[in-house]
Symmetry: C2
Subunit: 210 residues, 2 copies
DNA sequence: TTGTCATCTGTCATCGACTGACATAGATTA
DNA sequence: TAATCTATGTCAGTCGATGACAGATGACAA
């Protein structure tokens, strides 16, 4: 049975409606000057309900991170254990890209809007990075396991993950000017290659320090 | 004349008193459950006044970032123009370290407290990283200028800065267990060396793409 | 010393994000 | 249909943050 109940469908519809309403309002009047009350108003739900769908106003903007993180963790798990950590991470990044490339027009539109909003609100870029930091902790655990090291003491595990996430972020943010989705994903792919070229072969295979 | 007026001295005293009161309260009862009212109460000022010293509750924790950023920008400016961008950045990082090593016992104590607080509050680590993101934008401008590139389009400039900041952050956060200040700075120095070893010679000298 | 001026501070009012508690309307299942 | 589950609205309240105004206090010149 693929049929999800009416309730489920309704919820998903409300969630997307809130997201779309918010993105549009943010673009029209700016992030700060848009209140939760307004967003809820457009979708015709109470502000209280908004917070049942999104834990915070910021969460709206970080919505996509959840998805990306999920893909990265899944991909990482499916990569052969003997693949070097950074290489595995780069595959995970590419998995995120190919997911983006396969997105529906609606999803693409949301993504492009989000990108503009982030661009105009440095504070949000910060939040976005902050969200990335939490992902990093989780990824570092996985990578440390791969390296047979302890995530609490092996700095290289953390550095590997940090470099990988930096790569993703730089690809996402820069260049700032608008573009179509394919343009952006191509650009991100370039950034990944750039990062791969920049690092010494085998740099991520050094044995744990202790 | 080095004498700063009574007013100035008083202000500095209040600022530090607020900072210390806050750090202690955060450690005692946790960040979230400490209110601005409490912090202000300890120092015996009104909550309104608190916000005249620190723009937000978060700002307390990011206090040190301001200082670090300042040092990095200054150092960067003083490095020879023909030094490669990443090398210059690594010198900037080391400048931050040596500044930390030269800090007074009070400053060291604050730093260690802060580190414990950040460790216990993942959300704050996020904020901290977010603050770093703003620094990154500024640094990227400087590095792009050095590379004779446009910060808006040259991804490598951003990647260089992102890698450098990642290095600083990993050194700061990991390993999580406590330690004395010298132990921590040594550890951070190791991370810097690790990063330098990991990158291809001349990786940061590739000409701008466009 | 005194009076003026700039600045710091407290008080008050207010907004907006967010949360817990409770009641109800609607969907689900037996 | 009845019993049950759950999503939503309402209400009240906390806390972070900001603007406006007035009083206190240090800075400085006459």
């Amino acid at each position: 049975m693929t049929t999800v109940g009416l309730r489920e469908r309704k919820k998903e519809k409300t969630r997307l409606a809130l997201l779309d309403a918010a993105l549009d309002l943010f673009l029209e009047q700016g992030y700060e000057s848009t209140t939760v009350e307004q967003i809820a108003g457009v979708v015709d739900v109470s502000p209280r309900t908004f917070f049942r769908y999104f834990t915070s106003k910021d969460h709206l903007v970080l919505w996509f991170h959840d998805h990306g993180e999920e893909i990265m963790l899944e991909t990482l798990e499916s990569r052969p254990q003997d693949e070097s950590p950074f290489t595995a991470l780069m595959h995970a990044l590419r998995a995120v890209l190919s997911d983006m490339e396969g997105s529906t027009p609606e999803e693409s539109a949301r993504f492009l809007k989000l990108r503009r909003i982030l661009d105009e609100n440095p504070r949000l870029i910060g939040q976005s990075v902050a969200r990335g930091a939490q992902t990093e902790r989780r990824l570092a655990e996985v990578i440390a396991a791969r390296r047979g090291a302890d995530a609490d003491t092996d700095q290289l595990s953390h550095l590997i993950v940090a470099f990988a996430m930096s790569t993703l972020r730089v690809g996402f943010e820069c260049p700032r000017r608008d573009g179509t989705l394919p343009e952006i994903t191509n650009r991100m792919a370039e950034t990944i290659e750039l990062a791969e070229r920049s690092l010494q072969p085998g740099w991520d295979l050094e044995p744990p320090a202790r």
